[in-house]
């Protein structure tokens, strides 16, 4: 709790985001606690990261997603979020751009493979 009072920025985010009736970050249910712990260990932290650090990271990720969504809504087709908008917003950051391209390509390949597999089964 002390960390949140030190950082008014995080509280302001929630008030602007309007996520329900909660007034502070601490009151919203933690969405990603388990996954974030595994992720932090995978990225190099200790096997048991501090809960406060996980909380801060979750707030940062939610803020990131919120900002990206707002930006994506304001470009391209207004009021909707589309993949092309996300790719456009990310274009300056090489790591994220490469990752998005990889993920979308792999998704397409998997879809094709599944379709081919299903058709093969249907034939036999």
């Amino acid at each position: 709790m002390a960390e949140e009072e030190d950082d008014p920025g995080f509280d302001e985010d929630v008030d602007d985001g309007g996520n329900g009736a909660e007034s502070g970050q601490g009151k919203r249910k933690r969405l990603f606690s388990k996954e974030l712990r595994c992720m932090m260990y995978g990225f190099g932290d200790d096997q048991n990261p501090y809960t406060e650090s996980v909380d801060i990271l979750e707030d940062l990720v939610i803020e990131f997603i919120t900002e990206m969504t707002h930006k994506a809504m304001s470009i391209g087709r207004q009021g909707r979020v589309q993949v092309e908008d996300i790719v456009f917003l990310i274009r300056k950051d090489p790591r994220k751009f490469a990752r998005v391209k990889d993920l979308l390509t792999m998704n397409e390949e998997l879809k094709k493979a599944r379709k081919a597999f299903d058709e093969a089964n249907y034939g036999s």
Binding site: F32, M39, F43, P49, S53, R95, K96, V100
Partner: protein, 209 residues
């Protein structure tokens, strides 16, 4: 008749040979010296040898066959030439991918148990798609496609990784030990913000006031 054809083919080949830095033996006309030099590194040597080889074969085709089968690459209309270049680049990219996959396999096979655990967590951890979809939809108010959720989860994971890595740098620089503390995370965010890797739309740039 022969001269313009020969000039054209040489121009074509100097273009294709400078655009790729690996000798490709696929396009028929150049065998012999170019294939023998497939393993040599310096591209300058390769391009000069290629042009010699092309020059020889250009003479052959000018003298004899003007047909498109063997010399499809010698008289390519622009569309075929682009397609040929694209295939060469795809081959090169596939070979680079295979090299990288092999190197990764060698690396992973030499991991200790703790490193294997960490690597497994790194690859497998992911944000739950349902929660991300719910979050995005609560912001937009309308539904979003699956690809958007996939892209957003992927980018968020990269973002989390950047912060954790930067925080580990800060932690090491300040002489602390691993379980990351909030002060490390905040300093990491401050650094990323100054490098503009964190999105920040809270400041309006007023240009003239």
């Amino acid at each position: 008749m022969a001269d313009p054809a020969r000039v054209k083919t040489e121009v074509v080949f100097s273009e294709t040979s400078t655009s790729t830095d690996r000798p490709k033996q696929s396009e028929g006309s150049s065998d012999g010296p170019v294939n023998a030099s497939t393993t040599s590194e310096p591209t300058a040597v390769q391009t000069s040898i290629k042009e010699e080889g092309k020059g020889r074969s250009a003479e052959d085709t000018a003298a004899g066959e003007e047909e498109d089968e063997a010399s499809s690459s010698l008289h390519p209309p622009p569309a075929t030439k682009l397609k040929v270049e694209h295939e060469k680049k795809k081959e090169k990219r596939q070979k680079v991918d295979e090299d990288e996959i092999q190197k990764m396999q060698v690396l992973v096979s030499s991991f200790s148990e703790e490193q294997l655990n960490r690597y497994e967590m790194y690859r497998r951890s992911a944000f739950p798609k349902a929660a991300i979809k719910r979050l995005i939809q609560s912001i937009t108010g309308s539904s979003v496609s699956q690809n958007v959720v996939i892209a957003m989860s992927g980018i968020s994971k990269v973002f989390a990784g950047e912060i954790v890595e930067e925080a580990l740098d800060v932690c090491e620089k300040w002489g602390d030990t691993p379980p990351l503390q909030p002060k490390h995370m905040r300093e990491a965010v401050r650094r990323l913000k100054s490098r503009e890797q964190t999105p920040n739309t809270k400041h309006k740039h007023i240009l003239f006031h």
